[in-house]
Symmetry: C2
DNA sequence: TGTACATCAGTGAACGCGCGTTCACTGATGTAC
DNA sequence: TGTACATCAGTGAACGCGCGTTCACTGATGTAC
């Protein structure tokens, strides 16, 4: 017969969840850099050592927070895709959605890119799959726009467009460079993606 | 009368230079993350404390290394600009040059972006000026392409193009994502900038 | 030029702090009868 | 259902390490006469 979750298992699950939420909120409010095990466990209401019964180490915990973030982003982008069927429009709205998400969740979003795995430790498979899901959102309208595109070309183009949009969003949100008002940034990004698609279509028609 | 540099001043200058080169080579070979004061001073042939007679702290030393890197990049880009007068071609070659530089000086180039100033400490003016010099290289051919562009538009467009190219180069050189062969990357980047300019010109002619 | 003193760049051992991780212990939960 | 024992999740003090920075000291360089 199927095992009921025991009281022990329930408590463990609850602890994991508490730690996860505590870590997420810490990152959200103070950024990844200042994340400390002691703060997380204090917030989660358990002892310092408790963290290590629930997760292998802090890296592992951060990975799970990033997973939540990535899925939240995925959900938003999928909603956008559902609301904009026309491919060009969809691509533009996806870019705008990405900017919005990055602005609204600045620290969580930064953690996605700032977090480096310990040397020689590979990113787990399930996390890579979550990345792929996002790329899929860009690849679909692109394929629709150019049905004759080969698989390899599509992958390449998807990557480049993501990287370009990410680059623009990224540079604008860094303190390193002069901040641009959110509204203006949105306009710029929209324009940029329009240029890009226009250029892409133009070169196709030659 | 003008003071000759004393023997003391000469030695001090030599020490500064040794430390600078040692730090640069450490970053070049092992990356910014694993940079340690002890390694630098060992390599430079001075005692640990010596570092603090020449530079305020490690951050300051890294800033000077980044300055060297930025100027090396600037020199290469200027040479490219000099060799390609036609604006579209020049923009493409600048992008390719940026990719080449990033590949050839991976760790030094990464340090440019990975290095964060200590909280609340601003990047010094002279270093910001070095940034501006690079943007200038992009802005010039863009202005040539569209003489009627306003100052603000030009700045904006320059930033976006830099950010997009940087994003593509950046994502390709991170271990996080699957590596793309250098040669192929070069082709992709060239294509991408071509699209961009084509789209930009098309939207101008409307 | 030579001597005696003053300065200060450079030394390196020691400090100090942050902080992730461990581990001997304990008390709540589970199991056997 | 109740009792006695076994297990193991969770505890938190202590460990350990890395590493930037300091500071009392010294020996080379500079200065005064």
């Amino acid at each position: 017969m199927k095992n009921e979750p025991t009281k022990r298992e329930l408590k463990k699950q609850e602890l994991k969840e508490n730690l996860l939420q505590a870590a997420k909120n810490r990152i959200k409010n103070n950024g990844l850099t200042s994340l400390r095990a002691r703060d997380i466990t204090t917030d989660a209401g358990c002892a310092l050592g408790g963290l290590y019964t629930a997760y292998d180490d802090i890296d592992n915990l951060v990975l799970h927070v990033n997973s939540i973030t990535l899925n939240a982003l995925g959900t938003e982008l999928k909603a956008i895709a559902a609301n904009h069927k026309e491919p060009v429009e969809r691509l533009i709205e996806l870019a705008r959605g990405y900017l919005k998400f990055a602005c609204d969740n600045h620290n969580l979003w930064s953690a996605l890119f700032d977090h480096k795995m310990a040397e020689g430790v590979a990113v787990p498979e399930w996390h890579l799959a979550e990345h792929a899901m996002l790329f899929e959102q860009i690849a679909m309208p692109l394929a629709q726009l150019n049905p004759e595109l080969h698989e390899a070309e599509l992958t390449t183009l998807t990557r480049s467009i993501f990287a370009a949009v990410h680059g623009i969003v990224s540079i604008s949100l860094q303190d390193r460079f002069i901040a641009v008002p959110r509204k203006e940034l949105d306009t710029q990004l929209t324009q940029f993606v329009e240029f890009l698609i226009k250029g892409f279509e133009a070169s196709r028609q030659q």
